[in-house]
């Protein structure tokens, strides 16, 4: 029997903005039920990767396949139809981007279902279920985004992403705008989703957050995935010079960052490896 196809496959993806290559030969595979972290710093192309998977930027080359459908070949109309089915959902850094400030948050969460033609009582029941799933009181459904904390809003955005029972959820810096306590609440929700078998792509510059939630980590540097490995291997035995620089720069409770000579040496190696 052939193995189950991945829920997300990115192959040789290249994105250019004018003369700048934002993403070059990016590759990423997410199996069903897997949580894959994508770690990258400013300018690594991580937001471009998220935007390309969402269909917000058109790649110059390569393919993105979601649940067996090659979305990079879609026309605009096909994209609209695909989005309506809610097979892939997205959560951004700023939940205000996905939540309409003029609507009670319950309405925003229900919206993807109403667009699919589901009845209002049906959608409302789902809103309650998914708000509870992200540990929010269903009573919050009547509140407006401005009445919630940043962490509550981000959990509402996650509930909205889940309501169509997607095969994969892409999260772009979902906890970066949150304070420490709210960050932990959102990461706990993501951990539960992972344990429940939802496939997640968790994109962030914060190695700690990514490591805490992901089965595997892909390291993005200058538009290319330079290393992909199980989280434990990435943290304990990074191979690529950039991954070693990244992991070595992060202090832990046990040890500080590696010294500056080691980091300078890794930077030198990076110049030769590219």
């Amino acid at each position: 029997m052939p193995a189950e196809p991945p829920v997300l496959q990115v192959a040789d993806l290249e994105v250019r903005y004018g003369r700048t290559t934002a993403l070059a030969r990016a590759a990423l595979t997410v199996a069903r039920g897997e949580t894959v972290g994508v770690i990258g710093e400013t300018g690594s192309g991580k937001s471009t990767l998220a935007r390309a998977v969402v269909g917000l930027v058109a790649p110059a080359a390569g393919t993105v396949t979601i649940a067996g459908e090659e979305v990079t070949a879609f026309s605009r109309r096909q994209w609209r139809a695909f989005r309506r089915r809610g097979i892939a959902q997205y959560v951004f850094q700023d939940p205000l981007r996905s939540l309409d400030p003029h609507l009670p948050v319950g309405t925003s969460v229900a919206e993807p279902l109403l667009l699919q033609g589901r009845s209002r009582p049906d959608a409302n029941a789902a809103v309650r279920t998914y708000l509870e799933r992200v540990h929010l009181s269903p009573d919050l459904a009547d509140r407006y985004p401005a009445e919630l904390s940043g962490g509550q809003r981000q959990r509402v955005a996650v509930a909205r992403a889940l309501v169509t029972d997607p095969q994969v959820v892409v999260l772009d810096e979902p906890v970066s705008a949150l304070d420490a306590a709210n960050r932990v609440r959102v990461l706990e929700v993501l951990t539960e989703l992972r344990e429940a078998g939802t496939s997640l792509v968790f994109i962030s510059h914060d190695l700690g957050s990514v490591a805490g939630v992901s089965d595997r980590v892909a390291v993005l540097h200058r538009g290319a995935v330079v290393e992909t490995a199980p989280t434990r291997s990435i943290v304990n035995a990074p191979q690529h010079p950039y991954t070693r620089l990244l992991v070595g720069s992060a202090p832990t409770l046990a040890t500080g960052a590696v010294d500056r000579e080691t980091r300078a040496e890794l930077r030198r190696q990076l110049l030769t490896v590219g």
């Binding site: 710093e41 400013t42 304070d179 420490a180 306590a181 960050r183 932990v184 990461l187 510059h205 914060d206 190695l207 700690g208 957050s209 490591a211 805490g212 939630v213 595997r216 290393e227 992909t228 490995a229 199980p230 989280t231 434990r232 291997s233 943290v235 304990n236 035995a237 191979q239 620089l245 990244l246 992991v247 070595g248 720069s249 992060a250 202090p251 832990t252 409770l253 046990a254 500080g256 960052a257 500056r260 980091r263």
Partner: protein, 279 residues
């Protein structure tokens, strides 16, 4: 005995609008050349305590009890003029967003030189030379070029170096770094943490490091105070507090750090044979 450069003694800060006490009896001492970490979540009073020490408590908040002694002077009786003298010369600060402290329409160099012209009464040329030397001291490559650049031309890490250069321009003895590396990429954070440790070693700068990241405090500070809801719940040597926390709240912070941080995955003797690289 080492001289204490900053002493906070039973500080109480209140919001008169709601009558709530936001800082309730915080005390700590910072020795000359020492490094003290303050950890706690938002609303714990970390930033308000630092703002009091800098004399920039936002109105209408007020100090209702306690004492802040800065370089031997009781700050409660300082005039606005004396405060201006102490700020910069005695104590400096850097915050999370370096962009907020720089004027976007002025060149970097003129903003650092201005601090020197006003604070040290240097002439134009001397201020320029010293500003370039400061940009060099915070390890900005090609300081002459940075001198002529505008804030939007620099990365976040470079801007934070510029702000640190301005903060140490008048040779203060204390620098408060309030979430100063929170918004930076981790490889850039490592450079800034090195710079702070370097300044401490080179010019004896005493540091107050406010961070939500326990690992940052662990790297820089030998003493730490843990704040919750305006109160100190635990204090002591950093290694002892973070590795053997006694208060349940500190244990919670350490536990959360371990669950969503690298420490969770670190194996002391990771065997390369375990490697299963998926390419």
């Amino acid at each position: 005995m080492t001289e204490t450069v900053l002493s906070v003694d039973d500080l109480h800060v209140r919001d008169p609008r709601s009558g709530t006490e936001l800082v309730c009896g915080v005390s700590f001492d910072l020795p000359a050349g020492g490094a003290l970490g303050i950890v706690g979540e938002s609303g714990s009073g970390k930033t308000l305590t630092c703002r009091t020490a800098l004399g920039i408590l936002p109105a209408p908040l007020e100090v209702t009890a306690g004492r802040v002694t800065l370089l031997g002077r009781d700050t409660a009786v300082l005039t606005e003029r004396e405060w201006r003298e102490l700020r910069g010369r005695g104590i400096g600060a850097v915050f999370q967003d370096p962009g907020a402290f720089l004027n976007p329409s002025l060149r970097i160099g003129s903003q650092v030189a201005e601090v020197l012209r006003v604070g040290k009464r240097l002439g134009r040329r001397a201020a320029r030379a010293e500003a370039v030397a400061l940009l060099d001291a915070v390890h900005l490559r090609d300081p002459e070029r940075v001198y002529r650049q505008y804030p939007h031309e620099l990365s976040g890490g470079m801007l934070q170096r510029v702000v640190i250069a301005a903060a140490i321009a008048l040779d203060p003895q204390i620098l408060i770094a309030d979430e100063a590396t929170t918004a930076l990429d981790v490889t850039v954070q490592a450079e800034i943490l090195d710079l702070l440790a370097d300044l401490r070693e080179r010019i004896g700068l005493a540091l107050v490091v406010v961070s939500h990241d326990l690992a940052v405090v662990a790297q820089l500070c030998e003493e730490v105070v843990v704040l919750r809801d305006g109160e100190v719940v635990e204090r002591g040597a950093t290694a002892a507090v973070l590795h053997e926390p006694r208060h349940p709240y500190t244990r919670l912070l350490v536990d959360e750090h371990n669950r969503y941080g690298l420490d969770r995955y670190l194996v002391p003797d990771f065997d390369d044979a375990e490697l299963e690289h998926a390419g």
